[in-house]
């Protein structure tokens, strides 16, 4: 996965998601899941990422159980579970094996997405780990002032405000700083922007896209 160009991975993700919705054959869907799991196994992800994939599978199993319990047939419930797994695994693999700035570059260069929009996507994805770290830091700071997540649900929500408020205020001031530093670094200069990311397509990419196209033809012709 890592060796493919970002564009190829994007095409792969979108097409296979569409396949998952067109196909009704549970065996074929299960095959795709197995294929994705196999791809993940050879992609050299971290232990944490593999664990996340396992928990996604567990979540899919719960989804199937619920569907079945609420009166859907076995076939239909299984298909829903597989589809959910395929979609989440695909995006998971895409994000785990592609640097976000490469993805932005591919969107802008190949897909002609305006840079501002592509940047918004990457900036928001990039902020998630930052935000999680910030939540932890604020939680620690308030814990030292006697904050504890105990009591009934209403107490908890009220006390959680002492975490949310500094978090929101900090995030706002941080986004202001970020906007300023972006402008200082030439954000908004539309003419002749280039990317440091490596975007050229290799033989591997053409083969992969060819296979995807062939697969699509086969699925549609059935």
């Amino acid at each position: 996965m890592r060796k493919l160009a970002p564009l190829t991975k994007l095409i792969l993700t979108i097409t296979v998601t569409i396949w998952a919705f067109i196909m009704n054959d549970n065996i074929a869907l299960a095959g795709i899941v197995a294929l994705l799991a196999g791809t993940a196994a050879v992609s050299g992800l971290s232990q944490k990422q593999y664990k996340a994939m396992l928990s996604l599978a567990a979540f899919a199993a719960i989804l199937v159980a619920f569907q079945y319990a609420f009166g859907s047939g076995v076939q239909l419930s299984l298909a829903a579970g597989f589809r959910m797994l395929i979609m989440t695994y695909l995006f998971f693999l895409l994000l785990a094996t592609t640097r976000i700035q490469d993805l932005t570059a591919a969107l802008v260069v190949h897909c002609r997405v305006p840079y501002d929009y592509a940047f918004m996507l990457t900036a928001s994805l990039r902020f998630i780990p930052d935000l999680l770290a910030e939540i932890k830091a604020v939680q620690e700071a308030q814990a030292c002032r006697g904050y504890s997540n105990k009591g009934n649900i209403i107490d908890r929500i009220v006390s959680y405000l002492s975490i949310v408020q500094p978090l929101v205020l900090r995030s706002i001031s941080r986004s202001e700083t970020m906007a300023m530093s972006l402008e200082l670094r030439g954000f908004g200069n539309q003419a002749g922007r280039t990317f440091a990311a490596e975007l050229t397509l290799s033989a591997k990419d053409y083969v992969t896209v060819g296979l995807i196209a062939a697969g699509t033809v086969v699925i549609l012709s059935r």
């Binding site: 814990a143 002032r145 500094p166």
Partner: protein, 274 residues
């Protein structure tokens, strides 16, 4: 009062941040913790505060093991002031902000008002009690954070680099405040990079190096000998360096900056008249 015995700690990414650390902090001490970035200073203070739990070893506070204590439990006895006050300030006025901690601990209204008033008075924030805390200067915000900790009437105050990013005047103002608190009986544990402030205020220094305790003893002793403190990423304060250099010429002077200056003037004056 506080006792750490053979403390080890590993982060989930297997980084060893504390290795076999044993130390005792007595009531009323003013202890500085120094060392290069990533040497385990903050880890040590977070372990004391129960924000982190040791992988092995035990921490006892007043003879009680803190293993089952949450940070909120520890907050009754230990005030912790973080480097960045913006992470904790969230209320509309300074007085309300300072009142958050005591409220969490369930102080009675009368006791709460008194504790807040006292904390504001000690930190010199009475004049801005009604101000919006986030609009204050960095030094003032740090004082709000200290007042917030003091209002909970802690026995130990831990501060993680409270003077970073401040001009030297507000930095020493802060240190004078801590010295005053210490004189009033509060135990102070200060993480710092500032050697001048450390030499001037802390009677005892603990130096961390790669997760181990590299030095634990009197601050005077640390600087008085020709110890190679550069290997711990530290730099001798100018006054100590000058007085030691003079000692090598057989001139005995004190390390106190004020007297050092006087000694130097006397020396130069003497030379002129001769």
């Amino acid at each position: 009062m506080l006792n750490l015995e053979n403390i080890c700690f590993k982060y989930s990414n297997q980084t060893v941040a504390a290795q076999d650390i044993s130390l005792t902090i007595a009531a009323g001490e003013f202890v500085a913790i120094a060392g290069r970035n990533g040497s385990g200073k903050t880890t040590l203070t977070k372990l004391i505060m129960s924000l982190l739990k040791p992988t092995s070893g035990s921490i006892t506070f007043r003879g009680e093991n803190t293993k089952k204590f949450s940070p909120a439990d520890m907050a009754r006895y230990v005030g912790y002031v973080f480097q960045n006050p913006d992470r904790q300030i969230f209320r509309d006025t300074v007085a309300l902000e300072v009142a958050y901690g005591p409220e969490q601990l369930g102080f009675s209204p009368a006791k709460l008002t008194l504790a807040v008033e006292k904390a504001l008075q000690v930190t010199g924030l009475e004049a801005v009690a009604g101000a919006y805390p986030r609009a204050l200067s960095k030094g003032q915000k740090q004082k709000v954070a200290i007042a917030s900790a003091l209002a909970m009437e802690p026995e130990i105050l831990i501060l993680d680099e409270p003077t970073s990013g401040q001009d030297s005047q507000s930095g020493s103002g802060l240190m004078e405040l801590l010295a005053g608190l210490n004189a009033g009986g509060c135990t102070v544990l200060l993480v710092t990079h500032n050697m001048e402030l450390l030499a001037k205020y802390a009677s005892r220094t603990i130096i961390m190096d790669q997760g181990t305790k590299a030095y634990d003893g009197s601050t005077r002793e640390l600087f008085s000998q020709a110890r190679d403190i550069a290997k711990w990423g530290l730099r001798e304060p100018a006054t100590t360096a000058i007085s030691r250099a003079l000692t090598e010429y057989g001139i005995q002077v004190t390390e106190d900056p004020r007297y050092l200056a006087k000694c130097l003037v006397d020396l130069i004056g003497g030379a002129r008249h001769a």
